[in-house]
């Protein structure tokens, strides 16, 4: 440790306990007196003195040997090691561990959302691949993972209803659609499907008046859809079958012709031919049977007796 004499009181003090004020060395007491009497002294003119043999941090005395400096201040080896490897406080370590635990827990807790999201991606891929069965399965699987998301369940019901309509189960489809339509996402509207299902229900209930009315309603919305026009033809054929009124027969044939012309332009003649075959059967025999019954009865399609006779 080095000592120095105070320029004011003349006493000797450890160097690290003195100050340099306007180039004069002062002990702590003299420095306080000086600063009280001289208001013109600025902060820049006051310097704390450091003893190069005493650690500025812990005060460790190194005898006559000068210590290494850190940030311009004499620092002992122990303090230097501490500053270079300053540990994080325990509460920071605990907080970090807590944070990691929360994140891990949250991932585990929300795993079902990740699974549901994966199912949604499968659903989108299936839609793009036009695989409606897989799309329906994936949307239902996603909805089961996140039952709180009503829109998801509604969307699953929507696609299930679509599937049911394809399977000729319009009553079940209608029930599903009516239960989900309020919660459907804005990108989906149930109105079209509801109309389609109601049309199917009217046919199943043999309410051909309503069947025709709904089919015409659909055709007004989609005048360029061969499928919808064929449905109108189907409804007129039903009316003809039950009333024997020739005007219904003619209208049925007219709509069928329109549908055929559009199908020839747009493609998909195979599916249309099957539907057309069933409508022609209905017109000729005045027998109304479901698609399923028709398929079972005529697995290779129906052939007109009139055509046979004319040959």
């Amino acid at each position: 440790m080095r000592n120095i004499k105070c320029d004011d009181c003349g006493q000797t003090f450890p160097l690290s306990e003195t100050f340099k004020i306007t180039e004069k060395v002062s002990c702590k007491t003299c420095a306080e007196k000086l600063l009280k009497s001289r208001k013109d002294i600025t902060n820049e003119q006051i310097q704390r003195q450091y003893d190069p043999t005493v650690c500025a941090n812990c005060g460790k005395d190194n005898g006559d040997w000068e210590m290494k400096k850190m940030a311009g201040l004499p620092t002992c080896e122990q303090c230097m090691t501490f500053f270079r490897n300053r540990p994080y406080p325990l509460w920071i370590k605990m907080a970090l561990a807590g944070l990691a635990a929360i994140v891990v827990f949250s991932f585990a807790w929300n795993w079902r959302f990740i699974q549901a999201y994966t199912e949604l991606r499968n659903f989108k891929a299936a839609l793009l691949a036009r695989d409606s069965e897989k799309a329906t399965q994936s949307s239902r699987a996603a909805a089961e993972k996140v039952p709180e998301a009503k829109w998801l369940s509604a969307m699953a019901s929507y696609f299930e209803a679509m599937q049911l309509i394809k399977e000729d189960k319009p009553a079940e489809a209608l029930k599903l659609l009516n239960s989900c339509k309020a919660d459907l996402p804005s990108t989906l509207t149930a109105d079209e499907l509801i109309l389609l299902a109601e049309t199917g229900v009217a046919f199943d209930n043999k309410d051909y008046e309503k069947f025709l009315l709904l089919a015409i309603q659909s055709s007004e919305k989609h005048p360029d859809s061969p499928k919808v026009l064929a449905q109108v033809a189907s409804a007129y054929a039903c009316k003809y079958a039950v009333t024997d009124d020739e005007q219904f027969k003619q209208k049925s044939l007219d709509f069928l012709q329109k549908a055929r012309t559009l199908t020839e332009k747009q493609g998909g003649l195979d599916k249309f031919a099957e539907y057309e075959n069933r409508i022609l059967y209905r017109i000729e025999t005045r027998n109304i049977i479901s698609r399923e019954e028709f398929k079972n009865k005529f697995p290779n399609g129906w052939k007109s007796q009139q055509k046979e006779q004319s040959k």
Binding site: F83, R86, L99, V103, A116, Y117, V146
Partner: protein, 172 residues
Amino acid sequence: MIPGFLVVIITFPGVIVHEAAHMLFCKLRGVAVLDVCFFRVGNPCGYVLHEEIEDFGTAFFVSVGPFIINSLLCILICSPAFLPVRVFGVNNPLSYFLLWLGISIGMHAFPSTGDAKALLYNAKKAIASGNMLAVVSYPIVLLIYIANIGSMFWADYLYGIAIGLGLPSLLL
């Protein structure tokens, strides 16, 4: 206008992580940390006092360390909440806690003007020796100043939301 000290109190985890990130890079690069304050109600709301850094690469990483660490933690913490809240619209307290925590940390990712000054000081010294990182750091310093001005208009908050919620939206 919400007083700055109130914003700092509400988003205190971000301040703590910011200072911890400065300290982490000091430790990684062997820079002596003379004093550290992880959080306080005052200006600055936290600080890391370290020895003068000679190597510019070290100075660069110590200055921008919080940007890296806070941004990564923001993404990590917000990600478990992203799907329930943003995709499925399911709101639960855990998700909102995670979003508060993540966005609080993300919005303190910007280095402070103090960090920018330190970076600029070191860049000026390093550029004389043709250090390319020092050249690159000039626009970064400018960006830090712009970001700090933008913080007055919630740019820091928007940044937190952008990386916490916006980034997963882009990736998924």
